[in-house]
Symmetry: C2
Subunit: 325 residues, 2 copies
DNA sequence: GGTATGGGGCGATACGTTTCTTCGTAAAGC
DNA sequence: GCTTTACGAAGAAACGTATCGCCCCATACC
């Protein structure tokens, strides 16, 4: 069932079969059709491994993110990551690639056993060792989230500062005077978001009210939400997915009504349809990261046709939780 | 940077390098260590493509499902599928494999360009052509959901009939007399679920009240939910993810209070924490499917050590929506 | 002294493609 | 009639690994 068998059955050489099936070389249509017909009849499928070995291209893209647990996706940002993966997968397929989700580290050396044409690294650490290893091997890397000092071929990211300002402006316009911030210090874009919040407060001359917690510590979010409400804000902004539930629970415990006594807005994909949410649009991030990466792969050598960096817009969905009646 | 360079640098043959790195052959530890040290120093990584070509094993598993749209995942069951994929990915990695999510059909021939050691097909159609093609190529296939007449190496599935009975019993015990069923006729396990419902009704001697819709048609769910409530049930069971939202909206439109006027239960992963939900436990399904598949791959030739079929248990989470006050 | 025995190591082949180069032949140009 | 051009097709060399079988050299044994 190799190309050899097809060649023999069609009465031509291996070269001719390869050319006929790949649309290369200069062959009369008669030969091309004949070879294709024979190949179809034999049910011939070229070996992906052999092709990869010969051409150096596997048609496979890697996607990884820093793992907080043994799970391949971090639970705190599950919806965000799931949507990013979904979109990246779809885009990759459109462009003729398949996507493999891999952990940054694993008991088995999965990275060594898979031939990757390129990799998307979501939220790389500063000077990410994985990225360096991939680049050393000649695998193009595009990062989701600003790569810091890690040298990559391109990246996509939200404008976290602008996004935070947008939400804060909205809350202020809805009547908030003391806006608190709840942030997971190990969440993606956390430092950017917090900095944006502080800058906004400084601009307005109001004191910042922030509480942070470690998302990986169970119960930390709940405790931080309680601490934040103890500081009597009249509006709160949850910087990370999952904050909404914690804040709502804390408000209920204090018999604070939302939005009457407390305005609420939260980052995330709006799992709760009553909570004003700022979507980071992970679908766009995933799709654009793949497009960037494929551009790099296919223009290898040539200058970058696509910009090496794209800013993913955010979208604010105003719901009941931040609308004064 | 091939194995040749390592051999030259270490002053040994290619064979010795291969044996030393793979722990095969009979070499003194001194040689083994020396070779490994040299390989590390050179930063040598064996070519996955070459290894795959030689050994016939890629360490890659495919995962596919029948696509209703151009998207790789169907939106109506997104949470279910996302969780299944997440769990399957994690399990595969634990066992030393990577997972590739592929659509059943695609503009590019992705299936031909990826070397797969095995494939999980979620909800195959009867006599699925993709499954037959894979089996013809010698790729083991395990299915998620009963494979019907399609010959596969194994499968995992819920006991849909028992699950439906469990929910209906719960609703009846909570006081329901006229229980309606809302089902997506093109959803997974739909026919099984509907059959289970009808059987349960027959057992009890009550007339079935069912409405079906096509999940792929926008607005169909909403309309079907309305039709169902027109038939004045005092409890409804939504057989598919997303039914909950439709039914809640329809109830609100009729000023029916849940659970006072209408008991509600729904399949799904419980996105709405107030709705009684029957989880199909996609995480278990994904993990078990991978375990089954890897078992088949690694015991190729030997008899199946693991059972070829596993039934995934369901879990009923009783919430407010089906609890009479 | 001859021959088992076993440790240590290497040569060569196969995996199945793609592609570079070459080759023959027939038509066309002068 | 001889050279150019174009066409159609094939030969053969990679790509980088794993592995079968073989060889060589000590040491030990009878």
């Amino acid at each position: 069932m190799g190309i050899r068998d097809v060649a023999a059955a069609a009465g031509v050489s291996i070269t001719t079969v390869s050319d006929a099936l790949n649309g290369k070389g200069r062959l009369p249509d008669t030969t091309r059709l004949h070879v294709r017909e024979v190949a179809d009849r034999l049910g011939y499928r070229p070996s992906a491994a052999a092709r990869t070995l010969r051409t150096g291209r596997s048609g496979l893209l890697g996607l990884t993110t820093t793992m907080r647990s043994t799970e391949p996706f971090a639970l705190t940002e599950f919806a965000w990551f799931a949507e990013l993966v979904r979109s990246a997968t779809a885009t990759a397929l459109d462009l003729g690639y398949a996507l493999v989700v891999l952990p940054a580290s694993s008991p088995h050396d999965v990275w060594g056993n898979v031939a990757l044409d390129g990799t998307i690294v979501v939220d790389p650490t500063d000077d990410d060792p994985l990225v360096h290893e991939l680049l050393r091997r000649g695998v193009p890397v595009v990062s989701g989230g600003h790569p810091g000092s890690t040298p990559v071929y391109g990246w996509v990211d939200n404008d976290h500062v602008a996004a935070v300002r947008c939400v804060l402006d909205h809350l202020a316009q809805a009547g908030a005077g003391r806006i608190g911030l709840l942030a997971a210090s190990d969440g993606p874009g956390a430092s950017k978001g917090i900095a944006g919040y502080r800058a906004w407060c400084a601009d307005r001359g109001v004191p910042p009210i922030t509480e942070e917690y470690e998302a990986r510590t169970p119960g930390a979010g709940r405790a931080a939400a309680a601490r934040l409400l103890d500081r009597t804000p009249d509006a709160v902004f949850g910087l990370h997915e999952g904050c909404a539930a914690e804040l709502l629970a804390a408000a209920r415990a204090r018999e604070l009504r939302v939005p009457d006594d407390l305005l609420l807005a939260c980052c995330g994909e709006g799992a709760d349809p009553s909570v004003t949410s700022l979507s980071l649009q992970p679908a766009l991030a995933g799709a654009w990261a793949v497009e960037l990466l494929v551009g790099v792969i296919e223009d290898a050598g040539a200058g970058p046709l696509l910009p090496a960096q794209r800013t993913v817009p955010t979208r604010l969905s105003v719901r009941d939780s931040s609308t004064r009646r």
